[in-house]
Amino acid sequence: MTKQSAINTKLITALGLAVFLVACKSTPITPAKVEDKSPSSASTATNSGGDTGADANAVKEVMVDGNANGSADGNPLRDPNNILSKRNIYFDYDSDAVKAEYRPIVEAQAKYLLAHPDAKMTLQGNTDERGTREYNLSLGQRRSVAVKKSLNLLGVQDTQIETVSYGEEKATQNCAGEACDKDRRVDIVHQGE
């Protein structure tokens, strides 16, 4: 038997196995979809596996999807001519200092929050992809905290701000040089956006 034909045989076996998995779908895999709002895929919901017994390794799948995408017109936050629509603050490599050039953005956001005591915002920290995911999550957090502190100094209370981090999860894949610069940033997101 040649190597090539051996591989073909295996491929066919693999396909066979996959078909088998489809056939037995209700047994080993019971997918469940959890949807927030998206109406298109309301519920393919849970098929409570019951006592299919046999395979202790069976795994039930959960799907998590959708999110709000509200849109408010005439909102200064969305007006491209308003500085409030500028939402990215960029950082130097290995730094979490808010640079002077982003001060107008921070001040505008502070003014908005002080004028709208019910408004709430989330600061999302980001890093480039170098390093490990969890550690980068913490590094991104440090950046969002730095922006929060700048807002605090302008009188904004912590109750209006949540600091979170995406770490490297939104980073450019295989970035090099200046492409990585865009990854080191804090995104400002207002509630409901």
Binding site: K3, A6, I7, K10, L11, T13, A14, L15, G16, L17, A18, F20, L21, V22, P28, I29, T30, P31, A32, T46, S48, G49, A54, D55, A56, N57, A58, V59, K60, E61, V62, M63, V64, D65, N67, T122, Q124, R130, G131, T132, R133, E134, Y135, L137, S138, L139, Q141, R142, V145, D158, I161, E162, T163, V164, S165, Y166, G167, Q173, N174, V189
Partner: protein, 424 residues
């Protein structure tokens, strides 16, 4: 749609087992003294869709500790000890051989028998009978491979265990579990937002993980069999880096509120939250020592990220790593004697292994963006994430650094591997 991806994944692993290196499991290096063993095709092996003898052979080969002998040219292929002509196998330099059979029985089930024989002494080293459903062939093959491994190396095997990992295909993230050989992948949870940091409960029944589905990191715990998922931690700020205590009662997690990452512990039912580290630096990636007495974590309290340890009830942390300017993601070997972690070695992120008694460190991996080390339950192999041709892939290295493997998923990115406990 998803099943097509699944097929591609499966197919790739199967091809790999045949030996086409460029595609999936690449094995490089190998133990100097491999045990020569013949896995004689089981009688009636074609009766099941998964070929049991081939799965056993592949397991043994992949461990790097065995030289699996070619049996195709042999005139006599015994399927029970009585049929063995030992001289032929000794001539082939086999130290041991396995024979066995598959036999259909009532209810669409199968009876699988196998014997492991010492080729020189002509004695039986092990023998088992199993009555199984068709979908248990792979698991049974892995259990047999574990018995062979244990009998011939004196150490427990880890073939009958599972791995968890994250795939990213297009914009879709999925947490999957598969057998230790990459077969039989099943999706645990999928989302359009990132999923990271899967962690097995010590009994292998649950996975804790971090999901960004609510636009921020939240920790979930999900039962694999029922699919029931519960929020473990959703506090203001980040909730991340879960890891279980050895008894499975507690988890170490990282919370931020409005400040930097700090290590906390929380009961598995979500009660009893306790702050463990108190610094204004980053404290993250906590793991329990196997004896449950300490929590090891990465921290930049000393300016650069290093690994520290603290008593499980809190207190003053002390530093564990001293070489290099970036050591993160600590993971304990199951015997608690060594610590694997990621070191930035001149701009290249590699898996390092530190002997905790002597402090001696060995760099095990060769990649430049390696992360998420995870020990096999027998401590012989460390699974980790690497980059291959610009994409996330999984790789494994034996804990002595001699055998390396790479597992690629043809469909997309694979990352964040976590090796689960042994199945009983």
């Amino acid at each position: 749609m998803k099943l097509f991806k699944l097929m591609a994944f499966l197919a790739s692993f199967l091809v790999a087992n045949i030996s086409y290196a460029a595609l999936d499991i690449e094995i490089t290096g190998g133990s100097a003294q491999q045990i020569p063993i013949a896995v004689v095709p089981f009688a009636n092996a074609a009766a099941t869709k998964d070929n049991i003898s081939e799965i056993i052979s592949a397991d043994l080969k992949r461990s790097g500790l065995f030289r699996v002998l070619e049996t195709r040219g042999m005139a006599n292929l015994p399927t029970s000890p009585a049929q063995i002509k030992y001289a032929e196998w000794v001539a082939l330099q086999a130290q041991a051989l396995t024979v066995g059979s598959v036999e259909p029985i009532a209810g669409g089930r199968f009876k699988v028998s196998f014997q492991l024989m010492d080729a020189l002494k002509q004695t039986q080293l092990a023998g088992m009978d199993y009555q199984i459903a068709p979908n248990q062939v792979r698991t049974t093959a892995h259990k047999i491979a574990d018995i062979i491994y244990q009998k011939l190396t004196g150490e427990p095997g880890a073939f009958a265990s599972r791995i968890a990992y994250i795939t990213k295909i297009g914009k879709r993230y999925a947490l999957q579990v598969a057998d230790a050989d990459g077969f039989n992948p099943q999706t645990v949870v999928s989302s359009n937002e990132p999923i990271i940091s899967p962690a097995w409960s010590p009994d292998g029944s649950k996975l804790a993980y971090v999901s960004f589905e609510k636009k921020k990191p939240i920790i979930f715990v999900q039962s694999l069999t029922s699919g029931k998922r519960e929020v473990l931690a959703n506090f203001k700020g980040n909730n991340s880096a879960p890891s279980w205590s050895p008894d499975g009662n507690k988890l170490a997690i990282v919370l931020t509120y409005g400040a930097n990452s700090q290590v906390h512990t929380i009961n598995a039912n979500g009660s009893g939250l306790k702050l463990i580290t108190k610094s204004n630096a980053i404290d993250t990636e906590p793991v329990f020592s196997p004896d449950g007495s300490h929590i090891y974590f990465s921290s930049d309290r000393g300016g650069k990220p290093q690994i520290y340890k603290v008593a499980v009830d809190g207190g003053t942390p002390s530093r564990v790593t001293f070489e290099g300017a970036y050591n993160v993601s600590p993971k304990f070997s199951p015997d608690g004697k060594s610590l694997a972690y990621i070191r930035n070695d001149g701009g290249k992120f590699k898996v390092a292994l530190q002997d905790l008694a002597t402090g001696q460190v060995q760099l095990l991996s060769e990649g430049s963006q390696d992360e998420s080390p995870s020990f096999a339950p027998n401590g012989r192999v460390i699974l980790y994430a690497t980059k291959a041709r610009g994409r996330g892939a999984l790789a494994a290295v034996s804990s002595d650094g001699k055998v390396r493997q790479r597992l690629n998923d043809a469909a997309g990115d694979v990352r964040e591997p976590a090796w689960g406990p042994l199945l009983n």
